[in-house]
Amino acid sequence: MTKIAVRCTDLTKNFGRTPAVQGVNLEVEEGSFLALLGPSGCGKTTLLRLIAGFEMPDRGTVAVGERIVTGHRVFVPPEKRRVGIVFQDYALFTHLDVAANIGYGLPKGTNRQERVQEMLSLVGLKGLELRMPHELSGGEQQRVALARALAPGPEVLLLDEPFSNLDADLRARIRTEVKGILAYAGATVIFVTHDQEEAFFIGDRVGVMNAGRLEQIDLPEAIFHRPATPFVAQFVGTADFLAGEVQDKAIATELGRLSLTQELPNGTKIKVMVRPDFIDIRPKADGAGIIVERVFQGINYLYRVQLPSGATIQCQQHHNRSYSVDTRVGIKINPGHNPVYFIDRVENHEWR
């Protein structure tokens, strides 16, 4: 069995009356990458800071490896946690050169220089050791920050939106590099981002946060195809919801009957997730839908189709299927998608 590098239990933190992190439970296996995904203000950075020991939680525990570092009457200060962090703006020590930055966390004496050199070659910055931080490009600063955090061999490395300060074209390249470096170093990583593509790229597993809660933590594919909550469904990828009702072990919707994977009493209100590639449209004079918007996306057109009930759903079609607005269309559900649905409880109305 693989070892758990970080375990958070019921972690809760409020800033005054604002709840920042609420009852978060999570485990990260040694050597694996967890991406924490969520909109800004969802508490993901606070969660990271709780793990690093920069914030004291109101409740809950944090364990790094076997050791409880935050818990009942236990609070290990950040410098004793062996938790590395790379900040959004890198926070390089501007008064120290590259080598001194990387060597900062290493104990004096014992092959410190060797380790610095080792880290420099790991991040591909050999020869730049005497530069000052402001003499480096954004990507180089990023790699120094990474090398500095990795040098003392932390048990877990936290990255707080590390690519958000980079230009879009640089971003894709650096992100690949960083992933390679981290994998090579065998690091355990918790990575915070608001960018779904980045989360899927880096994370072995992805945790989606909303309003302080960890709504789902799973493989990227599962997050996308089997979202646990309507919020996850909408935040990760595009999703519309179709109202339905349970009738005779199936869901009756405007678009026909969909299979139900669990026993539910008749009359239960259901919301069915519809992604733009779930349905297909064809012009049809007596079709149920009518195109109300079309967006050219290059390879595809994204149509918004209004249903008889007035609800609209989005539908993605290949660019050779060009239909104008106001075209009446027939709607067909593509085979091969298991319908994802949520029971439409009143409590479930947090989402739009």
Partner: protein, 547 residues
């Protein structure tokens, strides 16, 4: 209080990033012509001083290398080091306590600890003499119960150090407070996550990050100490300024005074360059782009009240004690029937020249600052640097140079207010340029370009866009110049037209003859008037912090 310290941060800013958002085009004549005139004019006294000294020939070296010169040099450097060191030692904990901890009444302390800046050094000097001198208030207080006949000697080094530290430490405090507030908390957190505890982090990350601020504050304090004339003469500590004054008063040969002045200028230049050198290769700036979380507020715990006591002690010694002593002498003065009419006319004169100086200096500063910020080039930065000569030239030196110059070559303006105002311009121009410059840097050149694209000429842009946008910076610069002009002593003393008395000269003539009761009224009045520009500066600073 970026305004007060703006002049050094300005020096810092000039290194490295030359003219952010500079125009490519050449500056219009309306900008570069006055800027050049100002730069040339302020260099005049220095040129005169050098020529005058060199003109003497070989005997100048004899004059310079006397044992007495070295004694003066030793005393001056000793005083500068002591005052600067103590100021840093007081300010570092004060700044940290007021900016980063849960100290009770934090706001109040951060205002009160800055207020001693309104007390001129010669007023502080007479307060120290009156309180701690032989037959002073403390001795008389202790004489009855303890039969104390003598206190430890206050004249000389200890008194001068105490006096000048009392009124200059806020310079370090202000720069440090700003630097501590601007510190990126992520740096400290990064250090903690890399295995260094709080104390280690302070020593290895926080302190080095604060080093430029400490150096900038220390620069202001050491130059102030070097240039101070009032306190050292009242406390009879012979540094260069006092020696120059004595030389000027007692002998007809002005060459010795000129030679001593040159040494003083050289020391000032050395200090200026040391400050630049301490910065090294590092570049200090907050790396995050706004929105960073505020730094953690340290819980003082059981140190809360000792810290409170420390702040109270500093405020007691630097503010409450001086003001109460002044109040006491005011009472005695009133009881003794000191005449007040003279004081009112002095106050009017003081306000009048200070206002004139503020106006003249701001007008002179505008073209120089605009040229340096908007049309950065080698020449414009050279011009700007030339105007910083006031930094290196003590008031007494400028005054003497202008006296020689005026008496010999420009008799029509000799003994006029014009010459006095000109001296103020040379002395305080850097302060105004600093304030204008830093507010100009906050106006994006894109805004001016937008105005141009909407059909305004560069002249109209200046009047309708740039000046309105920086009017607060201009006001703050004017307030600062008004404040310093009001307090200025040696230039006022030497260059005032005969019979023209200001508060500063009234205080001086009363205290140098130990008529403390007579000095108390103008001193209190001066502090009162000085509080007005101080309040403008403080409120502006508050507003900026909250924006």
């Amino acid at each position: 209080m970026a305004v007060i310290t703006g002049r050094t941060s300005n020096l810092i800013a000039r290194l490295g990033r030359a003219g952010r958002g500079a125009h490519v085009s050449r500056p219009p004549a309306i900008i570069w012509l006055p800027a050049t005139l100002v730069a040339v004019a302020v260099l005049l006294p220095l040129v005169y001083l050098v020529l005058r000294t060199l003109g003497v020939g070989g005997e100048i070296w004899e004059l310079l290398f006397r044992a007495r010169t070295f004694a003066i040099l030793g005393r001056t450097v000793g005083l500068v080091i002591a005052v600067t060191g103590i100021s840093i030692a007081i300010s570092l904990p004060l700044a940290w306590l007021t900016a980063r901890t849960d100290l009770p009444l934090q706001r109040m302390w951060s205002v009160l600890t800055v207020l001693p800046l309104v007390i001129p050094s010669y007023v502080a000097g007479f307060i120290v003499v009156a309180a701690l001198g032989p037959r002073g208030m403390l001795q008389q207080l202790l004489a009855v119960p303890f039969g104390l006949e003598r206190l430890p000697e206050i004249y000389g080094f200890p008194g001068a150090t105490l006096t000048i530290t009392m009124v200059t430490f806020p310079y370090v405090l202000i720069t440090l407070q700003a630097a501590i507030r601007g510190l990126d908390p992520c740096l400290e957190e990064a250090s903690r996550s890399l295995g260094h505890g709080p104390w280690d982090t302070f020593r290895r990350v926080t302190l080095p990050q604060l080093r430029p601020a400490i150096a900038a504050g220390a620069l202001l304090v050491s130059l102030y100490t070097l240039h101070d004339f009032g306190a050292v003469s009242l406390l009879r500590y012979e540094t260069f300024t006092w020696a120059i004054y004595l030389q000027y008063q007692t002998s007809f040969d002005r060459t010795a005074a000129a030679a001593l002045s040159l040494i003083l200028v050289v020391i000032a230049v050395v200090i200026l360059f040391t400050e630049v050198r301490t910065r090294g290769r590092a570049q200090y700036h907050r790396s995050s782009v706004g929105g960073a979380r505020p730094p953690a507020c340290a819980q003082l715990g059981r140190w809360r009240w000792p810290a409170f006591g420390f702040c109270s002690l500093v405020v007691l010694l630097s503010l409450v004690m001086p003001m109460s002593i002044l109040g006491y002498w005011l009472g005695r003065g009133v009881a003794a029937g000191e005449p007040f009419q003279v004081v009112w006319s002095s106050a009017l004169n003081s306000g009048y020249v200070a206002a004139l100086a503020a106006l003249a200096i701001v007008v002179a500063a505008l073209p120089v600052a605009i040229l340096a910020v908007r049309y950065a080039s080698r020449i414009s930065s050279l011009l700007e640097r030339a105007t910083y000569i006031g930094f290196a030239l003590p008031g007494i030196v400028i005054a003497l140079a202008l006296v020689f110059f005026g008496a010999n070559y420009a008799t029509p303006i000799y003994q006029t207010l014009g010459l006095l105002i000109f001296a103020y311009v040379i002395l305080f121009l850097p302060q105004a340029i600093g304030a204008v410059r830093s507010s100009l840097l906050q106006v994006s050149p894109r805004v001016e370009e937008a105005a141009r694209s909407l059909g305004s000429t560069s002249w109209q842009v200046l009047g309708r866009v740039t000046l309105p946008m920086i009017h607060r910076g201009i006001l703050a610069g004017a307030a600062l110049v008004f404040l310093t002009t009001l307090k200025e002593l040696p230039a006022t003393l030497i260059l005032s037209p005969i019979g023209f008395k200001t508060l500063a000269t009234s205080i001086w003539s009363a205290t140098s003859e130990a008529f403390f009761a007579r000095a108390a009224v103008p001193a209190l009045l001066l502090i009162l008037i000085a509080s007005v520009p101080m309040a403008i500066i403080v409120t502006r600073e508050r507003r900026e912090q909250h924006d």
